[in-house]
Symmetry: C2
Subunit: 256 residues, 2 copies
């Protein structure tokens, strides 16, 4: 997939390959997170023990915002597959812009579920992937750094729904236009849902968690991520959020 | 291992576990890098096509320096297992310091092989782990971000030699003191080298590259990292650099 070549981006085979590859990335990052406990203080706004001067938000928020500010200067958010957590803080690139061809509708950047993704990650995902429930003061920096990587890969995976939606729309403009005109959310949900494909994803995730989640040279060692949790995270969180992106995107598709 | 408890840090069993765990981290990061081509422009100083205002260095240098500046504010470089690539650019922490107990000799931060690690990574490692030899303009940001992660995990692995050296020194002060007094580099090399352990590392790396390097649900898919290259990187680069850290550390050990 090459974002400079629109044809490659809206090819459903390429989108699928990219989604499969992102599974590995997400699992690798979850495994890195699994070495640490939950560390609730990292996520608390203005915790008295971890107060950042002149900043309203959590330790993670501060680190994530700094990272996005730097990356925005390297044109991260010009790329159609990147969605900022702090859209109001992004800076002007210090490099000449890359002229990406238009692939998605112009309102696409407004579809941003990152706030929800962050909440779900903190409240529902970290309890499943952390080593145990507790703090580790001397590792808050490492934890926040890995959280940023987890969040950015989840965000990319979930917002990839935009490309899925656009490809599906272009494949059957008549059908989708009718449902969009009628704002038929149920119909849209049905037409973007493919249970057989979802079943396949779950099977693949089980195998990957099985293989990547334990040291292959020490199978008696502890499991870093279990198939059951990974499937739960995808089934209950990642896939529903991806569908939400797809629906939000499609509902406005006749605007342009 | 807990850097607030010196006993756990100098325990050779814990050090070994940590080194084993770092193998996984390094492999996962190499796999992420393997999706992209070499991108030589990312590493060129002041490339006319990628000029960063008011900065002398490469695109990677700029991104790495920014990342270290942010992380230094979160006290990254107070931790004895962290070594900066841009020691002159680190900022004062905006959080109260963590009082790490002294585990290593006071000159330890002066033993910094990061410049060499960066050169080796760019010139010898990226050609082995990249997808192909070439540029990918629209991915320079992603590539630099992954390079930073690769470099930081290599740096942590290699500078962990300091803990190995300190533990060995404490286990046989008389023997080491004698060699240090005589500045007997050959003797030190011999006494820190354990060929059987190195053989075990290589065997483990082969298995891990075999298992992690290919999608377990699609074994016909392309290999992201091959056992042969991974072994080469460890045997010719990672292990020799770790030993260099150990020797540099030991040679000064009677200073304090
Ligand atoms: N482990 C230490 C040092 C550290 C590692 N990576 C970091 C990134 C940012 C800040 C600190 C760190 C901590 O978490 O605090
Ligand atoms: N892939 C784009 C966008 C991007 C992803 N991650 C980034 C990190 C920094 C800068 C840009 C990016 C690029 O590499 O440019």
């Amino acid at each position: 997939m090459d974002f400079l070549k629109p044809g490659t981006v809206l090819d459903l085979g390429n989108i699928r390959d990219e989604l499969v590859r992102m599974e590995d990335t997400i699992i690798f990052k979850f495994i890195e997170r699994s070495h640490f406990p939950t560390c609730p203080t990292v996520y608390k706004e203005n915790d008295p023990n971890l107060q950042l001067p002149d900043f309203h938000g959590s330790f993670l928020d501060w680190a994530l915002m700094q990272s996005e500010m730097t990356h925005s200067q390297l044109r991260r958010f010009e790329s159609p597959d990147q969605t900022p957590f702090f859209p109001s803080k992004i800076l002007k690139p210090i490099l000449p812009s890359i002229q990406y061809p238009r692939v998605l509708a112009s309102y696409s950047p407004e579809i941003n579920l990152n706030q929800e993704i962050k909440d779900v990650y903190i409240n529902q995902i970290t309890p499943l992937i952390s080593r145990f429930d507790g703090e580790s003061w001397e590792n808050f920096g490492s934890v926040a750094t890995i959280d940023i990587e987890c969040l950015q890969s989840l965000s990319r995976r979930i917002h990839f729904g935009k490309f899925v939606a656009e490809a599906k729309f272009q494949a059957d403009r008549a059908l989708y236009s009718k449902m969009i005109l009628e704002q038929d959310i149920d119909g849209l949900y049905q037409s973007i849902t493919n249970s057989a494909v979802e079943e396949k994803i779950m099977e693949r995730l089980c195998v990957k968690a099985e293989v990547y989640g334990v040291d292959p040279t020490n199978k008696e060692g502890y499991r870093k991520i279990t198939p059951a949790y990974l499937v739960k995270i995808y089934k209950e969180l990642v896939i529903p959020l991806t569908k939400k992106v797809e629906i939000d995107y499609l509902l406005r598709r006749l605007e342009c």
